[in-house]
């Protein structure tokens, strides 16, 4: 039986390592409760995880941003670094940009997906994986992504099982 394959973007991986809530429909949606099982299944090798190189850039930038005085320093720098190191230990297969860039550009050109989102979408298409995103973005990312790929899922819509 084929293994389950996933691409989880930074909006999913960040709350798997840092408690995050999302203001959503008048409530505080607990993203971490939905995201942690994804990191857990990657760590346990129950799923095969792929990602564009962009994930490491985005994760480190946003993780350390939580410790930045400019952003309120919600978390101590050492804690942020420790969580980054835990994230980097996950057995994720990073797909080189050279394998994705044509697809990224096609998605950007055809549907107006942002370049940053395009890396994740292209990675999911190239590896025939589910694409997991935290929630629908203001720019209509999910709708646009679903034009290209039929397995796009949101933490706000479903539990990862």
């Amino acid at each position: 039986m084929p293994r389950r394959r996933i691409v989880a973007d930074a909006s999913v991986m960040l709350p798997a390592f840092f408690p995050e809530v999302l203001p959503y429909r008048g409530n505080q949606f607990d993203l971490t409760r939905r995201a942690k099982p994804i990191a857990e299944q990657i760590r346990s090798r129950l799923v095969e995880a792929f990602a564009p190189e962009h994930l490491r850039h985005e994760f480190i930038k946003r993780a350390l941003g939580k410790a930045s005085p400019r952003d309120g320093a919600a978390i101590a720098f050492d804690q942020a670094v420790e969580q980054v190191r835990e994230f980097l230990k996950l057995p994720i297969v990073y797909v080189p940009g050279s394998k994705l860039v044509e697809v990224v550009f096609t998605c950007v050109e055809a549907s107006g997906v942002s370049v940053a989102d395009g890396w994740y979408l292209a990675c999911a298409m190239e590896t025939k994986s589910e694409l997991w995103i935290s929630h629908e973005h203001a720019d209509g990312l999910v709708e646009a992504a679903r034009e290209h790929h039929d397995k796009v899922y949101l933490l706000t819509e479903r539990t990862f099982k």
Partner: protein, 102 residues
């Protein structure tokens, strides 16, 4: 296309094996070797570019897999417990969307 060779038949107790796939491209070979590993209690190492070799005149993609042995599973469990403890100890923040993804 299929898995065409593994070391496992020679070394049933091996903790690491090489697995060859005659898939037409690197990605399909990754999928085939991943599937083989999962079915046999192994995990493929997280490399993207598989080695290519000629075997009997045919190109094959060669991946390395390690057994999910008791100590591997135990280590994963300990890492998971540690990660959960640390994450739960951190303060909750509001989810931010990166500027270049808006």
């Amino acid at each position: 296309m299929a898995i065409i060779r593994t070391d496992l038949d020679k070394l049933p107790d091996a903790n690491a094996v090489e697995v060859d796939s005659d898939a037409p491209d690197n990605m399909q070979a990754i999928h085939e070797i991943d599937d083989w590993a999962a079915e046999h209690g192994f995990a493929r190492v997280s490399e993207y570019w598989l080695r290519q070799r000629k075997v009997n005149g045919r190109r094959v993609f060669r991946g390395i897999c390690y057994r999910l042995s008791e100590d591997e599973v135990k280590a994963i469990g300990e890492e998971s417990a540690h990660a959960a403890r640390v994450t739960d100890s951190l303060p909750t923040t509001i989810h931010q969307v990166d500027e270049d993804r808006k």
